[in-house]
């Protein structure tokens, strides 16, 4: 069973990213549960596969508007689709790296997969609930979804 600590690792990862790269903290709203077939995503989604002692995935999904704003606040002159795509990857990478450090040797954390729109398939186990962590950054709201067996 997934523990609080496991989820906190991912929350910390995403918090850390925004704090260090945008100097603006994110606000985390109360998490809730979601079944595998209920998972919906926003414009852009970064998915990280997890295996080893625990199996599942973590995804961060955000609206394009937020990502464009994020790109601009990182110092870019214009938010091209490429940059928007990249920035999701970077967020996901940070979470992935954080997880790799925290979970240590018994876990395998994949390289993030970036999807625009609905992913073809999310490898969630049927009887496993996912944890949705609704978050806000600078008036935009986005979601972190953690689904681990």
């Amino acid at each position: 069973m997934i523990t609080e600590k496991d989820i906190e690792v991912f929350i910390d990862g995403i918090k850390h990213y925004f704090r260090t790269s945008t100097k603006m903290d994110i606000v985390v709203d109360p998490p809730y549960l979601i079944s595998a077939d209920e998972i919906t995503v926003n414009d852009y989604t970064g998915i990280i596969g997890i295996s080893g002692e625990r199996k599942g995935f973590v995804l961060v999904t955000a609206p394009a508007d937020m990502l464009r704003y994020l790109v601009l606040s990182l110092g870019e002159k214009s938010a091209t689709p490429d940059l928007v795509h990249d920035v999701v990857g970077e967020v996901a990478n940070t979470i992935s790296g954080n997880a790799r450090r925290s979970f240590g040797a018994g876990f395998m954390i994949s390289v993030p997969l970036i999807v625009q729109g609905q992913p073809s398939r999310i490898g969630a186990a049927k009887d496993t609930n996912g944890y949705v962590i609704p978050s806000r950054w600078n008036t935009f709201s986005f979601h972190l979804v953690v689904s681990l067996q």
């Binding site: 709203d29 109360p30 596969g49 997890i50 295996s51 395998m108 962590i133 609704p134 978050s135």
Partner: protein
């Protein structure tokens, strides 16, 4: 100490053996063939030398033979010169005699040599043999005979002049001899020339024939050598192509094996480099077509955990150590069963289980490689994991089954439905956006009420393991409630517990479904709560009050045991049929909470009861009666009543009221405090009371019934709660 001599002998023996080995080996044929080739070639070479020597000799003989022709002419010429010099008184004839004598001797000796094989002036020693060659004499015997006959006379006639060279007889004598000699020479001169010329031609003929013969022998020798060469070539090309075919065949066989074997096979060297020869299936294993020359550790790095990788490095290292016994460490193979995580584009990972086997590859010089066999054992692992999970699930389910089997089926159905609804409600409450601390606190309150209610339900059904879970959920909420500032993240522990509860109830629901599939009425089970009614399906409707009683009795029994108290429940005036279906749930909630409060706060311990002169067993009375159009629910305990002072102090401690407010207010309004959220006089939250939510829940349930309540109590004697609400409709009576 070894004897050095012995070792030398050994060495010699060894090298001899080695040479013998070569002769016994397949190379013997080529060695013999090449030897023959060299023999033939050197034969031809020797023949060549001999031929060129012969030709040089023959050329010389021809030259000598021709010179004799010339000499025969010179003799006459020189005789004339001698005659002329002898005639001339002033001239010195000795010089011309000298010239003549030389030519004479030359001719004489040469002829002699041709006929008898003698020495020859002015010709090298080795030439004797040539002139002794009978070939010339045989072919030109007649010519030489004739020439000898003529020369014999020459000798007689010319000798006096030749002697004159040594012993001058005087001008007159010489002149005389010269005249005689000239006469004869003039007669025979042409004849001699002719003979000599024909001899020269004969010698030439012999030489030509000889040269031709030698050339033929030479050609045959060269021909044999060439034939031998081609035999060698042909034979060994055939042998080579045959062994090539064998090599090709074995290569093909190896290739076929490597192409088609299901296992991944490859060689690994000390630097972890994968060999060029490996089975094709290996590509599929690693989803990589260029494995040859790759570093095995680097290949594994993204596929396995760091921990495993470190162990693999150590393990291969010890396998390469000659100081380690291979069979004694095979148990340590960290890749005997390993989870491999192959990245795919859609899901991030494709999880496979591989089994790697390492074995040392020995050759004459020891071992430098490991043969690695890789098998995909995902299916086996999946099966065994499924089996394990099924076992775990089964044992968990058995525990749950043992717990729920005693619960009457319809009640269980209701309980499961209500609990799942409640849990979903909690999730929905969490889901609703809330940004302020107040709205978050509000969420907590709502969740707490649900949790508390569900805990009560599970207590009532005797499902202790569920009760404990709700209790710990409550505990987690209490922690949060005491926090000054709340963030969304703080809710995480609740959500984790919620998830656990949800999955437990999925199991319970499935279990019940399975239980329904078998006819439990035929089973020899003795439920703690007696099942009343002909069949389980109509049990709840057939005798509701009996069911109510048995459930509530069970609840009371459990709660009093937990508090170390004693009490009996009296439900003789309880008519469950008065309630409508919608009213059953809230009324049950109210009764459950009230009874729990009554036992926790009202009923005293048996000792204090005895001290107060009361029976040690407390009395709890639950009445449901009709009063006109309304129903009245009464819950009364014969405990210590309500301690107003305790309420006051709690209210002060929780800052629900100030001291001045308390001093002026009536008992009635003080009592209303006990219905406030979070109010409890209990020291610590127990399972049944003390969270300060029971009364709050009662209040909200009463609200849903549109009811009112009254509290009566007498310190040291009793507490009575009276709830009144409209009667909705009469429940169907059977």
């Amino acid at each position: 100490m070894k004897n050095p001599f012995l070792s030398i002998i050994k060495g010699v023996k060894g090298s001899m053996r080695a040479i013998g080995g070569i002769f016994r080996s397949k190379y013997i044929e080529i060695i013999l063939a090449v030897g023959l080739f060299i023999l033939l070639d050197s034969g031809v070479l020797i023949l060549n030398f001999y031929t060129s020597y012969q030709i040089a000799n023959d050329a010389h003989a021809i030259q000598l033979a021709s010179r004799m022709g010339t000499l025969s002419q010179s003799l006459l010429h020189e005789l004339y010169q001698v005659q002329q010099d002898a005639n001339n008184q002033d001239a010195n004839y000795s010089e011309s005699i000298d010239i003549f004598a030389k030519s004479y001797r030359l001719f004489d000796e040469t002829l002699d040599a041709f006929i008898y094989g003698g020495d020859l002036i002015g010709v090298g020693q080795g030439q004797d043999a040539l002139l002794k060659d009978t070939a010339y004499r045989d072919t030109s015997a007649r010519v030489l005979k004739e020439a000898e006959e003529i020369w014999k006379v020459y000798r007689i006639k010319l000798k006096p002049i030749v002697y004159a060279y040594f012993n001058d007889p005087g001008r007159e004598k010489i002149l005389e001899a010269t005249t005689i000699a000239i006469d004869y020479t003039r007669q025979q001169n042409d004849k001699l020339l002719e003979l000599m010329e024909s001899f020269a031609t004969a010698v030439e003929g012999v030489a030509i024939r000889k040269a031709e013969r030698l050339r033929t022998i030479q050609s045959i020798g060269i021909g044999l050598a060439v034939i031998n060469f081609f035999l060698i070539l042909f034979h060994f090309l055939k042998r080579l192509s045959k062994s090539d075919a064998l090599v090709e065949k074995s290569r093909k066989e190896t290739e076929d094996i490597l192409e088609n074997v299901n296992e991944g096979l490859f060689l690994l060297d000390k630097d972890y480099i994968i060999g060029s020869q490996h089975s094709k299936s290996l590509h599929a294993f690693f989803k990589d077509d260029n494995l040859a020359g790759q570093n095995f550790i680097d290949l594994l790095r993204p596929l396995v955990t760091e921990k495993t990788l470190d162990t693999v490095e150590d393990y291969t290292e010890i396998l390469f150590s000659p100081r380690v016994n291979e069979s004694l460490v095979s148990n340590l193979n960290p890749l005997k069963q390993v989870e491999i995580n192959l990245a795919t584009d859609a899901t991030g990972f494709d999880i496979r289980h591989f089994s790697f086997q390492f074995s040392r590859v020995y050759d004459t010089k020891g071992f430098n490689n490991l043969l690695v066999t890789v098998k995909d054992i995902s299916e086996q692992v999946k099966l065994s994991e499924q089996l394990k999970a099924a076992n775990e699930k089964a044992s968990k389910e058995i525990d749950m089954l043992l717990a729920i089997i005693h619960v009457e089926n319809n009640m269980l159905t209701d309980f499961i439905r209500m609990t799942e609804d409640g849990l979903n409600n909690v999730n929905n409450i969490l889901k609703k956006p809330a940004k302020t601390t107040d709205s978050l606190k509000n969420k907590l309150e709502m969740i707490f009420r649900i949790a508390h209610k569900l805990k009560g339900d599970s207590t009532m059904l005797g499902l202790e393991f569920v009760e404990e879970k709700f209790h710990s959920l409550e505990a987690a909420i209490v922690v949060l409630k005491e926090k000054q500032a709340l963030t969304g993240e703080d809710f995480l522990p609740l959500v984790v517990q919620l998830n656990q509860l949800m999955s437990d109830f999925t199991i319970i629901r499935n279990l019940q479904k399975k239980m329904n599939a078998i006819d439990l009425s035929n089973m020899q089970l003795e439920p703690v709560l007696p099942v009343v009614g002909a069949s389980l399906d109509i049990a709840a409707d057939s005798a509701p009050e009996t069911l109510w009683k048995s459930q509530l009795n069970a609840l009371v029994k459990r709660v009093v045991t937990d508090y170390g108290k004693q009490a009996v429940l009296d439900m003789s005036d309880f008519d469950a049929t008065l309630l409508s279906e919608e009213q059953i749930e809230p009324v049950r909630d109210i009764i459950v909470q009230s009874l729990r409060n009554a036992i926790a706060h009202g009923i005293e311990t048996p000792e204090s009861r005895e001290n107060a002169g009361k029976p040690s067993e407390g009395n709890l009375k639950v009445k449901l009666t009709q009063n006109g159009s309304s129903l009245q629910l009464t819950i009364r305990d014969d405990g210590g009543g309500i301690d107003i002072e305790k309420i006051k102090s709690t209210a002060l401690a929780k800052r629900l009221a100030t001291e001045s407010q308390l001093s002026t207010c009536q008992s009635a309004s003080l009592l209303s405090l006990i219905f406030r959220q979070g109010f409890t006089t209990a020291q610590e939250g127990g399972l049944h009371a003390g969270r300060g939510v029971g009364m709050d829940l009662i209040k909200s349930r009463l609200g849903s019934l549109n009811g009112q309540f009254k509290v009566k109590f007498k310190a040291g004697r009793f507490t009575e709660f009276q709830f009144s609400f409209e009667r909705e409709r009469i429940a169907v009576q059977l």
